[in-house]
């Protein structure tokens, strides 16, 4: 089974404090640590587990520039067989649709049975997977939290839906799935592993090599553009209690009682 995972390098938001920069047009990126998007990492781990069980290889691809190579190396250290950096100046400023267009061209040049992406990245758009599937005309399932290979032609997938329930469907291969965090427990990748893959060549196909018309990607073709970042003016919000802890506790107990919480 040939598996492709489409990944992205993002600022690590779980610990980082995201602040606006002084110009107000971007976030402050100076002190940020970047890593592979969390759900993409789960997707790679899932791909590795599937390949280990059923044979085949795992390719991790990203659309970007030099800086993005590090996530490919990390995933190769994790066990991915190939890393591909799809890079071209023409791609700069692409919106989600543009990225999906590039990825679709890449997929058409190869033969992949299964394509995985993470559910969403730092912008929370949750779009590339679904768009890619539609461009390739492959069936799609999002929020996947379990995969079972039924045979060479189809899978059984579980999707995370409301209330913690799981929707189980059968889906034909080749297909695109967006993977939700928590589907597995990704293995650890240490510095040693990364050093061991440090010199493996990573191909960098360009727009021309993939037969992409530059007019369909990049800033000019982007239909959705972010104008700025801002932090909304805080509304009235909560009534903040300012007394001592004891006073606050007393007030809380009274409020709970008043609202019918102390029966």
């Amino acid at each position: 089974m040939e598996i492709l995972v489409c990944a992205r390098r993002v600022p690590d938001t779980s610990e980082n404090d995201i602040q606006l920069n002084s110009a107000g047009n971007d976030i402050e990126r100076d002190d940020l640590v970047y890593s592979i998007n969390e759900s993409d990492n789960y997707a790679v781990e899932e791909a590795l587990q599937i390949a280990a069980k059923f044979g085949g290889s795992v390719t991790v691809a990203t659309v970007g520039g030099e800086d993005d190579e590090e996530i490919l190396r990390r995933e190769m250290a994790m066990g991915a067989n190939h890393g591909v950096l799809i890079s071209d100046d023409a791609f700069a400023g692409s919106d989600g649709r543009g990225i999906a267009t590039v990825l679709a061209a890449f997929v058409r040049k190869g033969r992949y049975d299964l394509i995985l992406t993470g559910v969403q990245a730092d912008d929370g758009a949750a779009q590339v997977g679904g768009m890619l599937a539609a461009m390739l005309d492959y069936p799609f399932a999002s929020l996947v939290n379990s995969i079972e290979i039924l045979d060479g032609n189809k899978l059984k997938v579980g999707r995370e839906i409301a209330g913690g329930n799981r929707e189980i469907s059968e889906i034909d291969l080749p297909c695109v799935l967006s993977i939700q965090t928590g589907i597995n427990e990704p293995r650890y990748v240490g510095m040693r592993g990364i050093r061991q893959v440090a010199s493996i060549p990573i191909p960098t196909p360009s727009a021309a090599e993939l037969g992409i018309d530059p007019a369909t990607v990049g800033e000019m073709a982007a239909r959705v553009k972010r104008i700025d970042y801002f932090v909304p003016a805080l509304g009235k919000g909560a009534e903040m209690l300012s007394g001592s802890r004891e006073e606050n506790i007393d007030k809380v107990v009274n409020l709970i009682a008043a609202k019918g919480g102390l029966k």
Binding site: I27, R97, G124, F140, N165, I168, K225, E239, L241
Partner: protein, 328 residues
């Protein structure tokens, strides 16, 4: 002006709250544009939903087909592609179905796509200005979207006001025959219901809810004691479940349970929208968090900046005194 279509989610004959929210969103785009509800399904339930929508939508397109009895985004997308006019605006709720349906739909109809929108500012020469959030809700962004060839927009549930009374008498149009043959390359099998767990948090009036701020599994006991003193139950946000400190059945949020308590104590919860999405019915929210800038303080009724690991045990003692229970 392009037509606006709102995709309606429903269950057991009742339309989802988002149906009323999509109307606000549509009005924010263009109050004068014709708004049509699209409902897919099968059988009596579908008919009930459609007739119920007549009070708020001027036109309701009903698509009834046995294969659509369970909402399968792959099939519904094919159906919509067949019946939607070019260049229209499609609105849907940003939840598990919308995430499944919308991006692909935008490609198939050659429309633009923007997801998880929290505010719409209006149209400016075939560009729509909207507001989204990024980085887990830490910053907001103004976004400009070219809608010349149409747009598919998913809106965040709860971000737009519910329009209670649109005072219309809508007509139901049956579009079932126009969808043609649908190829099912994804086939629904079953839904596995989440394990009941020992406690049903949806049945409690008071919830003591813990988030990442509880810091470790052993501290959950502090919340349990308070819950016991209050006759309440312990619930939590997603990170607590991911860390396996509490079972999934305790999670409040978009991927967890929806609760409607009278009183909700948010302890060490930052207040992400996914969590708040599970809080319905306008409960009285008391938030305690070490971080004065935590988003929860925007939505809570009362806020206290304090360390929950110290605040809660003292609160428990006070509650026990108030109830006349002997302090251990």
């Amino acid at each position: 002006m392009a037509r606006i279509f709102a995709y309606i989610l429903h269950k057991a004959g009742v339309a989802d709250d988002s149906a009323a929210e999509l109307i606000s969103a549509a009005r924010a785009i263009d109050p004068s544009a014709p708004l049509t509800a699209i409902v897919t399904g099968f059988g009596a339930d579908l008919d009930v939903v459609c007739s119920g929508l007549r009070a708020s939508y001027a036109e309701i397109w009903k698509i009834s087909n046995e294969v659509l009895a369970y909402p399968n985004a792959e099939l519904i997308r094919q159906a919509l592609v067949k019946i939607l006019p070019a260049g229209c605006v499609v609105l849907a709720a940003h939840e598990h179905f919308g995430i499944d349906l919308a991006p692909g739909l935008s490609i198939k109809t050659n429309a633009s796509f923007v997801s998880d929108v929290i505010a719409i500012e209006g149209i400016e020469d075939s560009h729509l200005k909207l507001v989204r959030q990024e980085f887990g809700g830490q910053v907001s962004a103004h976004v400009r979207c070219d809608i010349a060839s149409g747009v598919v927009i998913t809106i965040r549930p709860g971000a737009f006001k519910q329009v209670e009374n649109a005072a219309v008498n809508g007509i139901v149009v049956d579009k079932s025959s126009e969808i043609g043959a649908l190829t099912a390359r994804r086939r629904y099998l079953e839904t596995i219901v989440a394990e009941a767990g020992d406690v049903d948090i949806t049945k409690h009036n008071v919830l003591v809810s813990v988030g990442r701020g509880i810091q470790e599994k052993d501290n959950i006991g502090i919340a349990k004691e308070l819950a016991e003193a209050l006759g309440a139950a312990v619930s939590c946000s997603r990170p607590v479940v991911d860390a396996k400190w509490l079972e999934k059945s305790r999670q409040v949020g978009s991927s967890g349970k929806t609760v409607k308590p009278k009183v909700y104590l948010a302890c060490g919860i930052s207040g992400s929208f996914q969590h708040l999405a599970g809080l319905k019915g306008n409960p009285f929210i008391i938030a305690i968090n070490k971080n004065p800038k935590a988003p929860i303080f925007q939505v809570a009724d009362v806020g206290i900046v304090d360390d929950i690991l110290e605040f809660l045990p003292e609160l428990t003692t006070k509650v026990q005194e108030a109830r006349g229970v002997s302090v251990k």
